[in-house]
């Protein structure tokens, strides 16, 4: 990786008014190369989703800089150029699809906003790519299962043909049986399109399955960066990371024990 595609330096985010200001994200910095998959992991409330939303431009109240192709992005509304290259997959497909919009409209709107051609064809193509039959285009979200909804959410992100996908716990709201399907979909799409991923999760199994490099977050800081190799071999440096990994492993083992 000679040059990083996405770079975050000294990111600080605080919420609340003057007296009770909570410093949620502290001096977070990392960089992601083209085609790479970077994972942020940590327990809930450690600020990982906040980092993602700041990068996405959904929260403009931050300090620090976010660089795309070494270009610093403005804090206020992100331009169309940024949005065409960076898209987001949300955590809960029950909340991130408008209840009264047909799949067709969900996928058509971004095409209209950015003036894409061949709209009908593009919608069909992206539906097939996420593993849905084109006949799904005239369905409403309440007619779809959780997994199908999340496929539509992925399709909505992909239809803009972005280079970077920001994945906010894309499987945590889904059934265990469906989680693997969505993860396989994400890894397949990354291979086919050469995408760059920033994946946020509290699930070590998910992160290790998809990511090459992993940042461990605790109390708003990245306390340790490691490769997924290191994670699998249990070579964590920090005490907290080791505890986190052990807990995840124990939980996974317990789950498997339950299954048998």
């Amino acid at each position: 990786m000679t040059q990083s595609l996405l770079e975050v330096t000294d990111l600080n985010v605080s919420f609340g008014e003057e007296d009770e200001r909570h410093h949620v994200v502290k001096d977070v910095g990392f960089h992601i190369g083209r085609g790479e998959c970077y994972g942020l992991i940590g327990e809930s409330g450690c600020g990982k989703t906040t980092v993602l939303r700041a990068i996405a431009g959904l929260n403009s109240d931050y300090d620090g800089s976010i660089l795309l192709d070494a270009q610093k992005q403005p804090k206020a509304r992100r331009g169309a150029g940024f949005l065409r290259r960076v898209q987001m997959v949300f955590q809960d497909p029950y909340a991130s699809l408008h209840p009264r919009k047909m799949v067709d409209k969900v996928l058509r709107e971004p095409l209209q906003i950015h003036g894409f051609d061949r709209q009908r064809q593009r919608i069909d193509e992206v539906l097939v790519q996420v593993g849905l039959d084109p006949s799904f285009r005239y369905r409403y979200p309440h007619e779809l299962s959780g997994g199908q909804r999340q496929r539509v959410v992925v399709a909505r992100a992909l239809i803009m043909e972005p280079e970077i996908l920001l994945l906010d716990e894309p499987t945590s709201a889904l059934d265990v049986s469906v989680q693997a399907e969505i993860l396989n979909l994400l890894t397949r799409v990354q291979r086919e399109r050469g995408l760059t991923y920033l994946l946020v999760s509290h699930d070590m199994a998910v992160i290790a399955h998809v990511c090459q490099r992993i940042g461990m977050m605790q109390h708003g800081r990245i306390i340790e960066e490691m490769t997924s190799e290191a994670v699998r071999n249990g070579q964590a440096q920090k005490q907290y990371t080791r505890e986190f990994l052990d807990a995840s492993a124990a939980f996974a083992a317990a789950l498997e024990g339950d299954a048998t």
Partner: protein, 303 residues
């Protein structure tokens, strides 16, 4: 119900996989209609309202007499075969007057709803979506209107504008839009923080597009329901204005005005006041029932 072999329009509506956007929408509307029809009292309310519309439309054909035709020899005759609802103090047939009065009542109710819903929706969604000082200014204006009881406010406006049906409609609308704006704002506050709005922003949608295509469709059901339920109040307030002599002017057969003149003869000719009173009661009841049914079908929280 999901018979694959159904053909024609019913089959088209029941098709498991819609083939076009129009078909998908029609199927949703069809499902809503079925749910509405399952609610008996709501259906009864709707049927009564449809009946009223037909009566208003065909008034000259249905009414047995001219509503303005006076006959001083037949003053205050009780209900009979010739005059089903009796006659009033000028010998006019009350049934015919009530039939013509339907037109005035529906005119007032529909026009008020037509003004109140868009105004309340636009003000409420803009205030809720943008927040900050825009919200502050718009909501203080709403507060000023809400500070007065709606009948008092309507009275003040009608007195300032002069009596008459059009002015009554304006006055009623001025009194009725603030609660709608409040409702739309409250809905918008939860909608604007939702993930699907965040997703629209990630796609570069303008504020106008988000308000139009995400916020308003979510607010619309509760606003429609609220406006329908408000219609009963509007009809009653319009009758009240008529009763006070500030709405429709005599000899117009407005129900409230009829009720008002009937008051003088309450003791010896009950039907002059009772007949328009019953008409007002039944109409507002029907609107309420239909509105309740509509809420069960449309309001997302009742899904």
């Amino acid at each position: 119900m999901d018979d694959m072999h159904q053909h024609g329009f019913r089959g088209w509506l029941a098709a498991p996989v819609p083939a076009s956007a129009a078909q998908a929408r029609a199927q949703q509307i069809w499902l809503g209609c079925k749910r509405f029809a399952a609610n008996r009292s709501a259906l009864a309310g709707l049927v009564f309202l449809l009946l009223l519309v037909i009566v208003a439309w065909l008034a000259p054909l249905i009414a047995p007499y001219n509503p303005f035709q006076q006959s001083l020899s037949a003053r205050l005759t009780p209900p009979s075969a010739a005059h089903w609802f009796g006659t009033d103090e000028l010998g006019r047939d009350i049934l015919s007057r009530i039939i013509y009065g339907t037109r005035i009542t529906l005119y007032i109710a529909v026009l008020t709803a037509g003004i109140v819903a868009p105004v309340g929706l636009i003000v409420g969604t803009i205030a809720g979506y943008f927040g900050g000082w825009i919200d502050l200014v718009l909501m203080r204006i709403v507060d000023v209107f809400l500070a007065f009881p709606s009948l008092i406010l309507a009275l003040a406006f009608v007195t300032a504008l002069g009596p008459g049906i059009e002015n009554a409609v304006i006055a009623l609308s001025l009194a009725a839009w603030p609660p709608i704006a409040r409702l739309a704002r409250a809905e918008t506050l939860t909608i604007r923080k939702s993930d699907y709005v965040a997703a629209m922003r990630m796609q570069g949608a303008s504020h106008l597009r988000i308000i139009w295509s995400d916020v308003i469709p979510m607010c619309l059901p509760s606003v429609v329901v609220r406006v329908t339920l408000n219609m009963a109040i509007v009809i009653l307030t319009a009758a009240g204005l008529g009763f006070l002599g500030l709405g429709a002017q005599p000899p117009s057969p407005e129900w409230g005005a009829m009720l008002s003149t009937g008051r003088e003869f309450m003791m010896n000719a009950w039907w002059v006041a009772a007949m328009p009173g019953i008409a007002i009661l039944l109409t507002s009841l029907a609107v309420n029932l239909a509105g309740d049914g509509l809420r069960d079908v449309l309001d997302p929280r009742h899904d």
